[in-house]
Symmetry: C2
Subunit: 230 residues, 2 copies
């Protein structure tokens, strides 16, 4: 895998972004993984991202520090809001959940764009999904298309080189079971990933947040056990 | 000035963003100023932003910490690249200068979007200028329009409320002299601002970077002395 076909892959360390990294690599990209230290309640997410980047052959992995707590407003970054817990997927409510972080994907993609510009890359991979996260405005196809359009006007490389920037969201329309199937075929070890919104400091999952439940249901549909750490 | 008409104003502490803050306030917005600690060579820029926010009646001023140095690639954030110095405006070269920070406006606007979402604001003010900074891709009108389109699809408030987000760039087509004229009419004290790319630690200007030269020329055209600290 040479560095002549570089791509930036946003990597949280969860199931979705690990699968996206495997897909980008299978498509022949030299993958530069990018994670964020953004005031998550626990650093176990970043440890998972490091494990995943290493195991799936990313050529680099950078962690950018950003302060999303300065604005508050989400259960994922504020200690005042509790992460909602349920016993089954069916209990997950509609609408935009409190785990939504304001403008998070917009901010993450903007850093990916900066990294892409420095690398001379024109491809950014992102693990958004419009089925499971229909309540998140920044997980919708029309948002991704509008971001790509803006990004193609935003950078020196895009303007001087006349090349469009591409935002790849290969999971956009896939069910969790199909995502897992695809990842397993590409050799993803899901035991290394961490999808939980509210893990213990040591990285064990809560088993009851929206993310844990959606993931467990995906494995269940395939007749497999979720290797997530309990 | 009530908080019922909130706006986010990106404030660097330079001449342009100070003028934009004065314009936003004159238009009746309750202005929430937003600055960044992004690995600038000197913190004097943030001190200028604080002075300006206070003097122009911002209802709040937040500083978000972000790490743009993780990617390198600009004379403004990298200690390996020198800020270019000249003796006259005419010596400023064409093309994209080394003082360009990759995706900077995209990143700054993304944080402004998060802040706007938390505040319930639909207006963001930005001091970009397409005349003086024609070499910067993210200072062009088509970029601002594309960003506004993306932002209107990106947030909970925009989706649920059905309201478009507006990116105001009131200086986009104004010369430096006109910007200064407008700001003086609105009571901006330009002695409080700092526009230099390479100030001393105490906040004195270099007088020879692109930004210092463009600013000096603006005052000169109006037959005024630049009150910048030397």
């Amino acid at each position: 895998m040479s560095n002549s076909n570089p791509a930036v892959v946003l990597l949280s360390g969860g199931l979705d972004s690990a699968t996206v990294l495997a897909i980008a690599r299978a498509e022949g990209f030299a993958c530069h993984a990018l994670s964020f230290r953004y005031g998550q309640r626990h650093a176990s997410e970043l440890r998972a991202a490091r494990r995943v980047a290493r195991s799936l052959g990313a050529v680099a992995h950078r962690v950018a520090g950003i302060d999303l707590r300065v604005f508050g407003g989400s259960a994922l970054t504020s200690s005042d809001l509790a992460v909602p817990k349920h016993d089954a997927v069916e209990e997950i409510g509609g609408g935009i959940p409190v785990t939504y972080v304001p403008a998070r994907n917009t901010i993450f993609l903007s850093f990916a764009l900066a990294y892409a510009e420095v690398l001379g890359a024109f491809d950014i991979f992102l693990g958004v999904n419009a089925l499971d996260y229909s309540g998140y405005p920044d997980c919708r196809p029309e948002y991704i298309a509008a971001y790509e359009n803006m990004a193609s006007l935003a950078t020196k490389a895009a303007v001087e080189g006349g090349r469009r920037l591409r935002i790849h969201a290969p999971l956009l329309h896939m069910s969790k079971a199909r995502i897992i199937e695809r990842g397993l075929a590409l050799g993803v070890d899901y035991a290394l990933t961490l999808s939980c919104y509210d893990p213990t400091p040591s990285g064990a999952t809560c088993g009851h947040c929206d993310s844990c439940l959606l993931r467990a249901k995906g494995f269940q549909e395939l007749g497999l056990a979720d290797p997530a750490r309990r």
